[in-house]
């Protein structure tokens, strides 16, 4: 096994671990192929740290005499410090960690070695197939079809093998459209709004270039989604300026002459290294331990993180508004259609579609709009806030999306089936995981890696009732309506659960969460008890009534005492059960 070559010193005794917000612990450090393990000897099975090498963002080493110190900064933003006696051991361990945390080959990653310790009830790889999504769609409309034109990834390498397109477009036309769109990403269905039949599509930019090329099939495809006499909106996630500049490189945007039924709106969502820089600055500000924190707000401002949140949410709200309020169909794209486009289309669905606010619905959304839609997770999440390399392709696009979801969740705390922990869990797994779900950049790569056979799906683990219990929002009450979040600066907050997670005391907030749970659980317990008693009573009463029918005259005195003038029949009409079922259903939803 080649890992052994990388591990020069597999074990160091008498190491000291300084974790965030906890006292230093002395113990033994072990390195394995995929984990850094620290166990304190003081308590039996007490404090043990298992850290995936893949979670390590950067390693720094310092020496004071012969005592070496390794500072490990993780992709989940945690910082830990290890004091290791002996210079050589320390150097060896540092270089081993560095090597193990930057393996080039995907197939050496932990998901290919991980063997689940839990029973797999449901194979997550098969939980959210496009065919199932299409089935849901075809129950409400027959204007769309599944196309298998991309089954060998030849039309668009970053699309899944099957996509949903307008019924009137044949695969031949589709191939022509793909040639006209950047990276072959032709417009596909992203969301169908059942309420009014309006749709949201997504694609990449059209390749109009400087001389304004056009593609009749492209025009036909997107016009096919319009109702007669109606117009639609194209939301370009780039500013007009950026979109115009893209023409010089062969890209561009839909020109009004060729798309007279569409109105184009430009929004300005940043991409790539600008976002990564923003994350780095934000985390720096949050980690600033100096006592003089006077300029906290200006540091927060300078990071621009919340500005990005506002821009993305605004664009998503606009898309949702066009669909729901203007009754118009929408096409969303930026340049590649793999980043800001997906942020907008997925957030718009959370606003519009109650299903996306449930756990399974949200998982389906992540699969559909991020994994299958070809967001390059492997590239974007290669490094996090402590990265030194600063590659252009690294960007916290998915984290920004999760942050936006958290903002909406904060404004509608009773409308989501999942809680903040669920979002944090997805953030962690997108950057480092034992599961194969977020490996690879698109379905094409994933199928080549044979992930479904060789690795475990995150959903197989999450969707077990043991885990789900941790991610359920106790306040959830199904809400079938569209939810419109506020995007005013006063309404947007720093996501402390992620960015201050390791720096702020959370004990009192955790206690509050516990208290919420207690209140809800006690209520449910009582409800169950009352229901059980009612059932018992009802049974007794039926028995009773049968007897009563035999000896009716005797009962007169009692029923008049009840005073409500209820006859025997009206009594049957208001069984306690009916109310009780309503109550239960409300919960289940």
């Amino acid at each position: 096994m080649e890992f052994a070559e990388l591990i020069k010193t597999p074990r160091a005794d008498n190491a000291v671990l300084h974790g965030p917000r906890c006292p230093a612990v002395r113990g033994t450090l072990c390195l394995t192929g995929h984990h850094l393990i620290f166990s304190s000897r003081r308590k039996e099975g007490g404090e043990e740290l298992w850290l995936l090498h893949a979670n390590i963002d950067c390693v720094e080493k310092r020496f004071v005499g012969s005592l070496g110190t390794i500072v490990i900064k993780c992709k989940d933003l945690r910082i830990i410090q290890l004091d290791i006696p002996g210079m050589e051991e320390c150097l060896n361990i540092a270089s081993s960690i560095e090597a193990l945390s930057t393996l080039d080959s995907i197939t050496l990653m932990y998901p290919f070695f991980y063997r689940p310790m839990f029973e797999v009830v449901e194979d997550g790889w098969r939980s959210y197939l496009p065919e199932q999504e299409f089935e849901l769609l075809s129950s409400v409309t027959d204007e769309w079809r599944l196309s298998c034109a991309n089954k060998d990834f030849s039309v668009c390498p970053t699309y899944p093998p099957v996509v949903i397109i307008p019924k009137c477009i044949d695969d031949e036309a589709l191939r022509k459209v793909a040639v006209f769109r950047y990276g072959g990403r032709f417009p596909v269905l992203s969301y169908y709004h059942k309420k009014n039949g309006m749709v949201m599509m997504r694609s990449s930019q059209p390749l109009t270039g400087t001389n304004g090329r056009r593609c009749k099939e492209d025009e036909k495809l997107i016009n096919a989604t319009l109702r007669p006499g109606k117009r639609g909106y194209i939301i370009d996630t780039r500013s007009l300026n950026v979109a115009q500049q893209a023409r010089a490189k062969g890209g561009g945007f839909e020109q009004e002459v060729y798309y007279p039924q569409w109105r184009r709106i430009h929004k300005c969502i940043e991409r790539f290294n600008i976002l990564q820089e923003s994350l780095i600055k934000l985390v720096e500000a949050c980690n600033d331990q100096s006592h003089n924190m006077d300029r906290w707000l200006s540091k927060l401002e300078a990071s621009n993180w919340l500005t990005h949140i506002k821009e993305i949410l605004t664009a998503a709200c606009l898309a949702a508004q066009c669909i729901d309020r203007e009754g118009a169909s929408v096409l969303v794209h930026g340049s590649d259609g793999t980043d800001s486009t997906l942020q907008v289309t997925s957030l718009a669905q959370i606003i519009l579609d109650p299903r996306c606010r449930t756990i399974r619905g949200f998982e389906a959304l992540v699969v559909r709009e991020w994994l299958q839609a070809g967001h390059p997770f492997q590239l974007r999440c290669a490094q996090s806030a402590y990265s030194n390399t600063k590659q252009k392709w690294e960007a916290p696009v998915f984290l920004l999306f999760l942050d936006c979801v958290w903002q909406i969740l904060r404004q509608f705390p009773c409308s989501f089936e999942f809680n903040e922990q669920f979002l944090i869990m997805l953030f962690e797994h997108a950057y480092a995981s034992q599961f194969g779900t977020f490996l690879g950049n698109n379905e094409n790569e994933r199928s080549k890696l044979k992930l479904t056979q060789k690795t475990m799906s995150l959903w197989s683990w999450v969707n077990r009732s043991e885990e789900l219990a941790r991610f359920k929002n106790p306040l959830f009450e199904a809400n079938s309506l569209v939810i419109w979040p506020s995007v005013a600066p006063q309404s947007l907050q720093l996501w402390e659960g992620v960015f201050l997670r390791w720096n702020r005391p959370s004990k009192f907030l955790d206690e509050a969460q516990e208290e919420v749970l207690n209140i809800i659980n006690y209520n449910r317990e009582l409800q169950a008890k009352v229901n059980a008693l009612r059932r018992q009573l009802a049974e007794l009463e039926t028995d009773d009534r049968m007897q009563e029918n035999l000896t009716l005259p005797v009962m007169n005195g009692v029923s008049s005492q009840a005073g409500n003038g209820l006859t025997q029949t009206s009594l049957k009409q208001l069984p306690s059960r009916s109310w009780q079922w309503e109550g239960e259903e409300r919960r289940k939803k």
């Binding site: 924190m293 506002k310 005013a488 208290e515 009773d544 409500n564």
Partner: protein
């Protein structure tokens, strides 16, 4: 258009004199602008009454009303006339901002002139509390005033005891006219020492007890600055401090905390004032904690409110503006001072003497924050009322000057108690289970400090209040809040929870990010900016349901037992169940405000296929439910189908459809003029 006052239904009305200044009492076709979205405006009629400005929407199905008390008005601005009319901007002390457009310039001018006069009363008798009548009888009124009793509170602390006693030295306000008649001082401090010390302190505010910790005898005392100049000293004052130190036998020194920045304190020496010289007082440790003065705070709030008022600000505008206002920095300074004192008392067992300049602003803030951290009692609803009564009202915080109840020097106005209230909110955010009351309680107290609807916060001192016979002529807020306490409960509070037991220790450093902008207060009336579903209200509803279930469980249990025993049928309980289902299903959500898209993309409106319903479905968000007539049957029907909060309604507290009105008097006298 009427130009004659028509309000005076009774010539005995105390406000009769100022009717003469009301030039216009009803203006039609006025537009009320929505602050968030300038496109939306409600057309209606503006009424001026003796106590309120009222705007009634024309829209027949809602007839929404906006009521503003004259005493809440902080500024009125008449802006340049435009083609659409003459804009009038009214800013309120409870952070409501009202933008009206009045069609005729002349009407606008009349309204402006009238409001200028009405918003600046010159006599206490003109204030609302003297005409406000909640229809309580004399006895209820007296009971209300007895609800908070400070002697009872000092008894609760364990005083008088071997070390502390009540002193009558100030019984006719003879020693200090801004102190209460009953003051608690160390037993060893004779009248001679007190009087001597008082002569050496600004405005004769001698050291007196604010809080006593019976577990370890440590205490918090308060005073004003000593008149030490560069070298003056006073034997009695030194004896006074020694007496305070000795009243805590477990400790061999006393902290003296000067809450001013050192520079300010030093500047005061030139005027013959200053701070304690450690060499002259035996066993004191002197400490500066730099909280800025009232003028800095007033400007800071002003700057922050400017940020709040920005129309569609960018994230940068907002964060920069907030940082530049310095507001959160000041809040942190007050908190730090409170934390320092609480730690000294709880952890070191050392007594503390706190002062600033006059000892009625920063000192009040810091003493009450420290008390709140130390003693869980002050984190209960009743205890919080007691705390305000103790550290603010009785010790002569100048409510009238600071909050501009009567027309006075604008330089005296400063948001001193607002800052304290915000400190409490910041603590509630950090310790969600520690307080018996919720955010709404704080907001309503802030509102009433300015509303002058109740007599509690009138005048500058106890002496003035007694002379004015406040308790015989007005009502107490505390009784009013207590009556509605169900609306102010924090569902997470449990008296046996660990957060409600002991001293609270907020994190000291690094903690700037722990202090957050309070949009619930400063953007209070822009409901669209707040979370659309309230966890507090939801949990309160669940708790109420739980309580009903408990009762039902008991009844069912009994019934079952009876049934099993007697094998008899009973209809009674089933009918009760039916009632309950109804109750839960019908009560309106407290959250049923309209939720519609904001201006996410401003260029949408030029698109021709715009649906006609857009924009009509929700009206101005400025209006709060408090301002809706409680009898309005459309209250719940108003809610937008897209609000996304409707489903919650089935869990809202029964009868909780309307918040307890802050302007609960509005329907009584004033209703008369509406009918005119």
């Amino acid at each position: 258009m009427l130009y004659m006052p028509v309000i005076g239904s009774s010539s005995l009305h105390p406000l009769y004199n100022c009717y003469s200044v009301v030039y216009a009492n009803k203006v039609e076709n006025v537009r009320l602008l929505d602050r968030v979205s300038s496109r939306k405006a409600a057309l209606g009629t503006l009424y001026l009454t003796a106590t309120h400005v009222i705007f009634v929407e024309n829209a027949s199905e809602t007839r929404k009303e906006t009521w503003v008390l004259h005493s809440q008005i902080s500024s009125i601005e008449k802006q340049a006339t435009t083609a659409t009319g003459c804009p009038l901007l009214i800013r309120c002390k409870n952070f409501q901002v009202i933008q009206l457009i009045i069609p005729q310039e002349r009407d606008c001018h009349d309204v402006y002139i009238s409001l200028i006069r009405l918003a600046r009363p010159v006599k206490y008798e003109e204030l609302y509390c003297f005409s406000f009548n909640p229809k309580l009888d004399k006895e209820e009124r007296e009971q209300g005033w007895k609800f908070v009793d400070l002697n009872e509170e000092y008894n609760r602390m364990g005083i008088p005891n071997d070390y502390w006693q009540i002193s009558d030295v100030n019984r006719d306000y003879g020693v200090c006219d801004s102190y209460p008649t009953e003051v608690y001082v160390p037993k060893s401090a004779t009248a001679h020492i007190i009087v001597g010390s008082s002569k050496f302190r600004s405005r004769r505010r001698f050291p007196a007890l604010s809080y006593y910790c019976k577990d370890n005898n440590a205490s918090i005392c308060r005073s004003s600055q000593p008149l030490s100049g560069f070298s003056a000293r006073c034997l009695e004052d030194e004896q006074m401090l020694q007496a305070i130190r000795k009243a805590n036998p477990g400790s061999d020194f006393l902290y003296v905390v000067d809450t001013r920045p050192k520079l300010n304190a030093m500047a005061n020496r030139a005027a013959g004032k200053g701070y304690e010289n450690e060499d002259n007082y035996s066993n004191i440790k002197f400490q500066f904690i730099g909280i800025e003065n009232i003028h800095v705070m007033r400007n800071s709030l002003q700057k922050m409110l400017e940020v709040c008022e920005l129309k569609s600000p960018s994230m940068s505008d907002f964060l920069w503006g907030l940082e530049n206002s310095g507001w959160l920095k000041h809040i942190k300074a007050i908190m730090d001072a409170g934390i320092f004192i609480a730690k000294a008392v709880a952890e070191e067992g050392v007594s503390v003497l706190v002062h600033c300049s006059d000892g009625w602003d920063r000192t009040a803030q810091v003493c009450s924050v420290a008390s709140l951290l130390l003693d869980p009692y002050y984190r209960t609803m009743k205890g919080f009322m007691v705390l305000i009564e103790k550290d603010w009202i009785s010790f002569g915080h100048k409510f009238n000057h600071r909050y501009g109840n009567l027309d006075g020097d604008p330089k005296e106005i400063s948001p001193v108690i607002d800052q304290f209230i915000e400190c409490v909110w910041q603590l509630m955010e950090q310790f969600p289970c520690a307080f018996e009351f919720n955010e709404r309680f704080l907001i309503h107290i802030q509102h009433h400090i300015y509303s002058c609807q109740f007599g509690n916060f009138l005048c500058n001192s106890q002496k003035e209040r007694r002379e004015l016979k406040i308790q015989e002529r007005t009502y107490s807020l505390w009784a009013h809040l207590w009556k509605n306490r169900a609306d102010y409960l924090n569902p997470l509070y449990r008296s046996n929870h660990s957060q409600t037991q002991r001293t609270l220790y907020p994190q000291m450093t690094p903690c700037n990010f722990l202090y957050k902008f309070w949009s619930g207060m400063y953007n209070r009336f822009e409901k669209g900016l707040h979370p659309r579903q309230s966890v507090t209200d939801y949990l309160m509803a669940v708790k109420e349901e739980t309580q009903q279930l408990e009762e039902e469980l008991e009844v069912l249990g009994e019934r079952l037992a009876n049934l099993q025993k007697m094998q008899l049928n009973g209809n009674k309980i089933q009918s009760k169940q039916q009632d309950r289902g109804k109750q839960l299903g019908l009560s309106a959500s407290t959250n049923s405000l309209a939720n519609t898209p904001q201006e996410y993309g401003s260029d949408l409106k030029s698109f021709p296929s715009r649906s006609p319903s857009q924009g009509d479905e929700d009206s101005a968000l400025i209006l709060t439910q408090d301002n809706l007539k409680s009898s309005d049957p459309d209250l719940s029907a108003n809610s937008d189908q897209e609000s996304g909060v409707e489903d919650l309604s089935c869990r809202s507290p029964s009868g909780g459809g309307c918040l307890p009105s802050e302007d609960s008097g509005k329907d009584s006298d004033e209703a008369v003029c509406l009918a005119v």
